[in-house]
């Protein structure tokens, strides 16, 4: 399942629309990392509202995406983790180490704008 990525100003917004296989997750990672260069993006939002499970591989891959985009000069924010998914992740001991998470797309954009205004990276 391909994840559409939209460009909005200096940001890329990737919206997951259904369950993702491991190969889909790796495809998303490659698409975002190259997209940051192609669009000279300063921030990335990954909307995972539609994900019904975040297991260790999904968590690991999202962390990897965030770290890779950071090395390319763009911040990544994960938005839309569902309550049930957060509950399972907390039980499993899975954390999004060093990554910013926000409630929804709006909060994610606010965070990126605030970070850009501060000039921090």
């Amino acid at each position: 399942m391909d994840v559409p990525i939209l460009k909005q100003g200096p940001y890329l917004i990737a919206t997951v629309q259904s369950a993702l296989t491991d190969a889909d997750l790796m495809g998303l990672r490659d698409k975002i990392v190259s997209g940051v260069g192609n669009h000279r993006a300063r921030g990335v939002i990954i909307d995972v509202t539609a994900l019904d499970v975040m297991d260790s591989f999904a968590t690991d891959t999202l962390c990897e995406i965030a770290h890779m985009t950071r090395l390319r000069g763009a911040r990544t924010v994960i938005v839309g983790i569902q309550p049930d998914v957060a509950y399972a992740m907390a039980h499993m001991g899975l954390t999004l180490e060093g990554i910013h998470a926000a409630l929804d797309l709006e909060e994610g954009l606010t965070h990126l704008n605030r970070t850009a205004a501060r000039g921090a990276n």
């Binding site: 296989t21 499970v53 297991d55 260790s56 049930d84 499993m92 001991g93």
Partner: protein
């Protein structure tokens, strides 16, 4: 304690990464049918996802069997993950947080153990691995 009665069984063959998604979706559907909350169904689906990936990663192929069970009036969901892969050399180590031979997170088995009510693993070198997990729906 008596052996649980099996009301329904669904088997999913694990031989590619799409099967991981299939197994966890079937597990969630069965959990909801049994009457688990959506939070508990997500815990079960996450555990199934980890076990299915272990099969694919370490053995290449295997099977996930999902059973709707009942013991002493309590319904539950049992997951049996079986493969005929190389087996786990050091089980105690595999059950420690942070251990993985695949180079990834290695939270698989200890994480799964924390999600479920029962957790048993049997592994023999050269013979394969079998993981049995159960979640009970408490009154």
């Amino acid at each position: 304690m008596s052996e649980p009665a099996v009301a329904e069984e669904v088997r999913v063959r694990i031989d590619d990464d799409r099967a991981i998604v299939d197994a966890r979706q079937k597990g969630r559907a069965m959990a909801l049918k049994i009457g688990f909350s959506s939070g508990a169904a997500t815990l079960i689906a996450t555990a199934i996802s980890e076990l299915a990936r272990n099969i694919l990663l370490y053995a290449g192929r295997g099977e996930i069997a999902l059973q709707s069970i009942e013991r002493e009036g309590f319904p539950g969901l049992l997951v049996l993950a079986r493969d005929e892969g190389p087996g786990i050399a050091d089980l105690d180590q595999a059950l420690e947080d942070g251990y993985s031979t695949s180079g990834r997170l290695g939270l698989g088995l200890p994480g799964v153990r924390r999600l479920m009510d029962e957790f048993d693993v049997v592994s023999r070198i050269g013979d394969g691995t079998s993981v049995r997990i159960v979640k009970w729906k408490h009154a």
